[in-house]
């Protein structure tokens, strides 16, 4: 079989390798602010849990679907919490990070309660608390971006 790679074919490989390298290097500069992204995810998760509770309470989502949605939100919040804790920030962002850790801890607790007793009478109360958490997290997200 004719398997030897003639010299003329090797040139394109070198070009591709160089291009990929250049892109990777450029990658570090433009990425979005990690603190802002983490807080955005957390805020999204909190309002997602609130939506699930509300729609289930209104009888528009089955228990299975609502429970899944709350469970997904809990996973996303847990991940955001871990990322937030591990994040090294500087300047005013550190203050934002500290506040965010408290709000996040509170919203994890709320989501935990939500998934524990989905149909409970406290549902309305939990929805408002989760919506408040989401707003706080969104405010902190904006603060983090401004403080960059």
């Amino acid at each position: 079989m004719r398997w030897r790679r003639p010299v003329s074919d090797r040139r394109p490989l070198a070009v591709v390798a160089a291009a990929v390298l250049a892109v990777a290097l450029a990658g570090c500069g433009i990425a979005k602010d990690p603190l802002g992204v983490t807080l955005g995810d957390a805020s999204s998760a909190a309002s997602s849990a609130a939506l699930a509770l509300e729609q289930h309470d209104d009888g528009r989502l089955t228990k299975a679907a609502a429970a899944t949605m709350v469970d997904d939100a809990r996973t996303e919040l847990a991940t955001a919490g871990k990322q937030l804790a591990e994040l090294s920030t500087s300047g005013e962002q550190t203050a934002v990070q500290r506040d965010a850790l408290d709000v996040l801890a509170r919203s994890v607790q709320h989501v935990h309660e939500a998934s524990a007793d989905l149909g409970s009478s406290r549902a309305r109360d939990l929805i408002d608390r989760l919506r408040a958490d989401a707003d706080d997290l969104e405010r902190l997200e904006q603060a983090a971006v401004d403080a960059r």
Binding site: M1, R2, W3, R4
Partner: protein, 124 residues
């Protein structure tokens, strides 16, 4: 490139190996697939003319990666004279059950597929 003269020997159908022959699917008498045509084996006739004597079966998947050849004895081949047509695929006048190059397929059939219940059923 196009201003070069036409080669005189043209009584017959002109066929380029890479373009019309190599890596084409070889079919048996009933158009059932055998294997891909991987290479060609040439021999010199008494007057010294090179001509194709055998098609070597095998695709890139099972080919040797480092240019080495399998010893001639174990090479899966089909004789040139059983070829009936060269189209999008290479048609031949042989029954695939007689082609011993398909021993790997038979191994999979006899040692794996037939062992699983339902292996012979006709899905229709």
């Amino acid at each position: 490139m196009t201003d070069l003269p036409q080669h005189p020997d043209r009584n017959g159908r002109l066929v380029d190996a890479n373009l019309h022959l190599l890596d084409r699917q070889v079919l048996d008498r009933d158009d059932r697939p055998i294997l891909a045509a991987g290479d060609l084996e040439l021999e010199q006739s008494d007057e010294g003319r090179w001509h194709i004597v055998r098609v070597i079966l095998g695709s890139g998947l099972t080919a040797r990666f480092f240019g080495a050849h399998r010893p001639a004895s174990t090479r899966d081949t089909l004789d040139w004279d059983i070829i009936t047509d060269l189209g999008a695929a290479i048609s031949t006048d042989v029954d695939r059950d007689d082609v011993d190059a398909l021993w790997t397929e038979r191994w999979w059939r006899d040692h794996v597929i037939v062992k699983i219940p339902g292996g012979q059923h006709d899905p229709g």
